[in-house]
């Protein structure tokens, strides 16, 4: 395959970042915007070309018989730790990578376009585009990584671009602390990933994905450790769980999810790009990338399933009670990613030929589209009413028809209503879960129902409910074309994406899988659940009434806890501020100043005290000296005399 396109896909965004970052301040907003959009547009076209080439050219590099192959386009040495461990920088093309290229460049392009309208007149417009380019570069680098270390490198870069973009409004303290929180929480997770990579690389003398996942390789690792276990898990299990920890951080799985809702402090296009469609699915991508290894250790997969299922339910419950529309979407994102995680966790070759994997990737794709749509829609709303809370909205359907209809499509897609894209992917995921165990199937169906409920709660509260009196002073209207166009296109994609024959393109082992919808066992029940949930939401929120308050009063404790996100932030606050900062750090600093430094100073003080004491003898009084001298001389002479006589 020609090297030019893959290299350009990475080179254009980073070049854009450098140009806009270094010279942006000297450019006009318009020029910077056009440069950014053009750059991303070109990248998108290139990525489409590459993906199209990969899937449909029939090139023998990419497909042999019916099996899709992994192809390393280029791979150059970047750093050589030791003769065994070499970090390369390369471009690995395989089905999930090609799909991610499409997703990232598409969303990124639309976000670039959308931002031109959304960020208009903002100070730091050029900086915003620079950071967007940096993010796109890092994310593309992450998905094309040929080895886990390259992935880790871009993983970190993605984290930093996320930090920079969340903290884009750096003058507001809340944005600053949100960005800090996001970075530190994900860094903590990355620590787990790093340790996992350390463990893995010690037993497997390579970072390369193809070699890592080659048949027989994991068994070799297990053999090399001599069956050693630690707390009941083999070395490989631990390595995989630790690596998954990194994914938990980026994908906001349960104990490490707290940064994502706060990350909504960033500009809305950023939320759409990073915190909904692309970066947060990196964890899913990571597990998918190393899936053959995970298959070796079902314990690790069970762990993923468990974390994912808990997170999905938790986030869905919390989303039902939030006021800030972006936070509702954030929790919805958490919940949906958890869906993908569960789906990956239950994927087994023996259950529907590893359907879970395909379903997870499918949902990743469709979710990226409709969640970006929802976020961009939310951005349009915020742009119109200048507030994030639904209390400032209500009855907007008449004022903003485009936003209304696209948002509705997004809601239908995420709720899983036929024939919108969400239905298809969710259906596949649920069938994989039912195939694995009925318990998780029912559980996740319930979560899917909750999803439909909270999304329509949001929809009704924004567009129906009661018309907000403020509109008389400030009449909201639809966004400019740069913002509406992406909405319309993404809505269109969300309508039709379900009909893509995804199973033919992406499966865990490259062999095609023919999607068939299990209407009776899975689809009808889940569809019914969704419809019931939507009807419930309609009853409660279509017109202003007191039902929601009554509903909240049924379980006031639960409602309050969910409203406070089950106090996770408070717990973290307690641990970080009260324990780590006030107890550990302060006491160490005190120890250093007073004990360690005190000891060193004490040496000096003792020396000084001794000198002062001795100094008294050197009184400076000649008379005293004479006296001592004389007495000494007398004593000496006396001794001498006594000896002689």
């Amino acid at each position: 395959m020609d090297l030019t396109l893959p290299i350009l896909i990475l080179a254009i965004p980073i070049t854009m970042f450098l140009i806009l970052g270094l010279f942006g301040m000297k450019m006009s907003h318009k020029l910077a915007g056009i440069l950014g959009i053009l750059g991303m547009g070109t990248t998108m076209v290139l990525a489409y070309t590459v993906a199209f080439d990969y899937f449909f050219s029939g090139n023998s590099l990419f497909i042999s018989g019916s099996e899709r192959l992994q192809h390393t386009v280029f791979d150059v040495t970047w750093l050589q730790f030791s003769p065994r461990l070499v970090v390369n920088f390369g471009f690995l093309l395989d089905p999930i990578c090609a799909m991610m290229l499409v997703v990232i460049t598409t969303i990124s392009f639309f976000v670039h376009l959308y931002s031109w309208g959304y960020m208009e007149g903002e100070k730091g417009f050029q900086r915003f585009y620079a950071f967007l380019s940096l993010f796109s570069f890092s994310m593309l680098g992450l998905v094309v990584a040929t080895n886990i270390f390259q992935m880790y490198i871009f993983w970190e870069l993605v984290g930093v671009s996320s930090y920079l973009l969340i903290g884009f409004y750096y003058k507001t303290p809340s944005a600053v602390s949100a960005s800090k929180k996001a970075f530190i929480v994900t860094r903590f997770a990355d620590l787990g990933m790093l340790i996992g990579i350390l463990v893995l690389s010690f037993y497997m003398p390579t970072f390369n994905f193809i070699e890592l996942t080659a048949p027989g390789q994991p068994q070799a690792v297990l053999a090399s450790t001599g069956g050693a276990t630690f707390l009941g898990g083999s070395v490989l299990t631990w390595a995989l769980v630790l690596i998954f920890t990194g994914g938990m951080g980026k994908s906001a799985m349960l104990p490490l999810h707290i940064w994502l809702p706060d990350a909504m402090e960033g500009p809305t296009p950023v939320s759409a790009l990073i915190h909904a469609a692309t970066m947060v699915v990196a964890g899913v991508y990571l597990v998918a990338r190393m899936f053959p290894l995970y298959l070796m250790e079902y314990q690790a997969l069970d762990f993923i399933t468990f974390i994912g299922a808990i997170t999905a339910l938790y986030a869905a419950v919390v989303a039902c009670t939030q006021v800030d529309i972006k936070r509702v979407l954030a929790f919805s994102t958490i919940s949906q990613i958890a869906f993908m995680m569960v789906s990956l966790g239950v994927a087994r070759p023996e259950i529907h030929e590893g359907l879970g994997y395909m379903a997870s990737m499918f949902h990743l794709f469709t979710h990226a589209m409709f969640k970006a749509l929802l976020f961009l829609g939310a951005g349009a709303l915020i742009h119109a009413v200048h507030s994030n809370d639904y209390t400032a909205m209500g009855g907007l359907r008449k004022y903003m028809p485009i936003t209304h209809w696209t948002f509705l499509i997004g809601c239908l897609a995420i709720a899983g209503i036929y024939p919108f894209s969400g239905f298809f992917s969710k259906d596949e995921m649920l069938s994989a879960m039912y195939g694995y165990s009925t318990f998780w199937g029912v559980w996740m169906t319930f979560v899917a129902g909750l999803t439909a409920f909270y999304m329509f709660r949001l929809y009704y509260l924004i567009f129906w409910w009661d018309e907000n009196p403020h509109y008389k002073h400030h009449r909201p209207h639809d966004a400019p074309w740069q913002m509406s166009l992406p909405l319309i296109i993404l809505a269109a994609v969300s309508c039709v994406a379900g009909f893509i024959p995804f199973g033919e393109l992406i499966t865990w082992n490259g062999e095609p899988y023919h999607i068939h919808i299990e209407w009776v066992k899975v689809a009808i029940p889940s569809l019914c659940t969704a419809v019931v949930a939507i009807l419930l939401a309609t009853v409660m929120y279509r017109k202003k009434n007191s039902l929601p308050d009554k509903a909240a009063a049924i379980w006031p404790g639960l409602w309050r806890a969910a409203h406070h996100r089950f106090y996770w932030d408070e717990i973290y606050m307690f641990i970080t501020h009260k324990i780590i900062f006030n107890v550990i750090c302060s006491s160490i600093a005190w120890f250093d100043r007073h004990i360690i430094d005190g000891t060193m100073d004490a040496f000096a003080k003792v020396t000084q005290k001794t000198s002062y004491t001795i100094r008294g003898m050197q009184s400076g009084s000649i008379q005293t000296y004479v006296w001592w001298y004389l007495m000494g001389a007398v004593a000496l002479a006396a001794i001498t005399c006594w000896a002689i006589l």
């Binding site: 006296w627 004389l630 007495m631 007398v634 002479a637 005399c641 006589l645």
Partner: protein, 174 residues
Amino acid sequence: MESIGNIILYFVVAVIIAVFSAMAVTTRKILRAATYLLFVLLGTAVVYFQLGYEFLGAVQIAVYAGGILVLFVFSILLTQHPADPASVLANHRKFVGGLAAVCAVALLGVAVCKFPLIDGMSLTEAVSIGDLNMKQIGHFLLSSEKFGYLLPFEAISVLLLACIIGGIAIARNK
């Protein structure tokens, strides 16, 4: 056997030296201390005469009693109201000083008494052996041969010069 005059002279001088030394260091009026010192120095000069060193006695009177003591008196007059008594000494100070003095006396006394050569000859014998006159002294002082003291003489001259200059430099009013 000594002449009786010599003996009487000795005792008178010895008593003068002992008493005035003691008074010089115990009196509280500094000008009196200087005066008592004068008597001690004169007594010493008499001893020199008695021992047959007339030149030395003359130098003692001229330099010490005449020169140094005048310096003392002037400096006392410059720095002190002559009638002012010094403050009374603290008892422990007296004790410490006395102890030192007594120790010194005791030790030196023992050493002197036990010294085997101490009762060698009498004064008359001694004076009769070493007779010397001014001419000889002058000769020795400016001779560079054996028993010549030219070098110390010159050294002392330079030293005195240095002292004069130093004294002027220090005491000079800026």
